[in-house]
Amino acid sequence: MRRSYQVRKLLRHQRKPGELMLVSMIDIFTVLVTFLLMTAVFSHTVILQLHLPAPQAQFREPPPGLVLEVMVRKNLLQVADRNSGPLATFPNNAQGYDYAGLTGYLEQVKARFPTMTAASILLEPDTPYDTLVQVMDHVRVFETSDGLQTLQAQLFPDISVGDAPPAAPVSAQNRGSEPVRPMPARKRPARGRG
């Protein structure tokens, strides 16, 4: 029982109305997905910029006005003015350093000295690098949450880093403390009008 070629062709066309040949596309996509998943990097690296003066600029007379210093000790954070001494101290709470208190205080300082951008962070020799980065974050910017968007507002982005004086923590006299590098002097801290 053989049908003619034409009849069989007609029958075949009736049965399968039309097909896309998707196998090759699926092959390519699968390979692409595998390759891209293997090379994908989901942790994004960013940088924190430090502005350090060249070493030949040895010592400059500290500019008049407020010279902001944030001292990091094992058990407290301290905000100080290099010329006049400690301004505020934030002892550690149960979670560790009181970053919220520090940022809150620095916001007030920024409100009074809006043109000031420089700050020094003074650390003890065994302070972990992680703490330095966290303190830098909280001295540089503060985050305000506006609904779902998080906005970053600048506090003191020009950060220099130095040694904390070895004196007793609370009654530390900052006059003698000299950071490893002097503060960048290209921006003179101006006194606020307020």
Partner: protein, 165 residues
Amino acid sequence: MLRHHLRHRADAELNLVPFIDILTVMVAFLLVYATQVEVIHNVKAIPLPESIAQQSPHPTVVVTITRSDIYVQGERVATVPQVLAQSGDEIASLKAALQSQQVVGTTATAADPAHRELTIMADKTLPYEVLKKVMTTCTGADYSHIALAVLEKEKAVTAADLSSS
């Protein structure tokens, strides 16, 4: 029964449409991610600190500090215990490596010593003492622009954020 089977086998088809949909979405998503070229290669051995910084890195000389060693552009120049033990602030071998022509030549602005740039990738448990010595050496070797490489902090939307809006 046999006929029943045969009929079904003839119609048996895989429905690949949702599969293709997923593949297309994944390819599009991963291609977008893959186009963000990583300038600094993240090394799994070094846990970087997390930060809210938003500045993207650009190609510079990279000084990598693990818990035990210091590398310049992938070549070991000093060990951390050795650096901790020494009394002065400058690390001689690191300085020599930073000033060697082949490292200096890798930065685009090598001609102008005032604008030489350097990125430090350090372990987050590293004591400040080591970092200070490395940074002093870097400024001593005429690298005035120093950047610290950190990981971008994941931002989780908390209930407090939602209720405050």
